[in-house]
């Protein structure tokens, strides 16, 4: 699964730490999601989407390998 959290963060101008605080996870978790080392649960994906005020599909997309 791919995601464009990094881009969305840049648009909204918030850091990984800010995003982590907003959804109540650690900075490490945001970092592992951004670098595609961890696939978040649906709950976490929905929370991230809510922060950016966009549907989940615009932030997380299926990869060719999925």
């Amino acid at each position: 699964m791919k995601n464009n959290i990094r881009v969305e963060r840049a648009i909204k101008n918030i850091t990984q730490a800010d995003l982590a605080d907003l959804i109540g996870v650690s900075r490490q978790t945001i970092n592992t999601i951004e670098s595609n080392r961890y696939v978040p649960s649906t709950v976490l994906a929905l929370k991230i989407a809510r922060v950016f005020d966009k549907p989940v599909e615009q932030i997380f997309m299926l990869d060719d390998t999925d």
């Binding site: 990984q16 109540g24 650690s26 490490q28 978790t29 970092n31 592992t32 961890y38």
Partner: protein, 144 residues
Amino acid sequence: MKTRFLFPYWCRFLGYALFIVHIPIVMFRKNIGFDTNAPLDHGLFTGHHLFFMATTLLMAVGLFLAAFSKEKIEDEQISQLRLDSLQWAIYVNYLLLIVSLIFTTDTEHILFLNLLVPLVFFIVRFQWKIFQNNRLLRKDENPS
């Protein structure tokens, strides 16, 4: 995030402390008056048995607390990591158990190994992964 069956964060340090305390006690058992090379009197609640029980309990409880205490921030990524490390620990433990069952008949030491390996391997693997994540995070934040 709600977590079940985990000790509070400070229990980790208590756990490490108990484990560290147990090492000199076992190392200097002769000085304290428990020479395990002396002819063993087999039986429950003899001096030797009580000493063995006390030190082993100290070690096991220490490792247990250190292994299953909460992280500072508990989230789903940490639980995933914990679960992953547990799986690894069980694999390694059973591999060692099977190998030692085939190649030795020293059941007392096999038991001891079985007591130690899953928890120690779990702690090392889990903390190593957290360390790696932190390093990658730092690299990401200051890419110099």
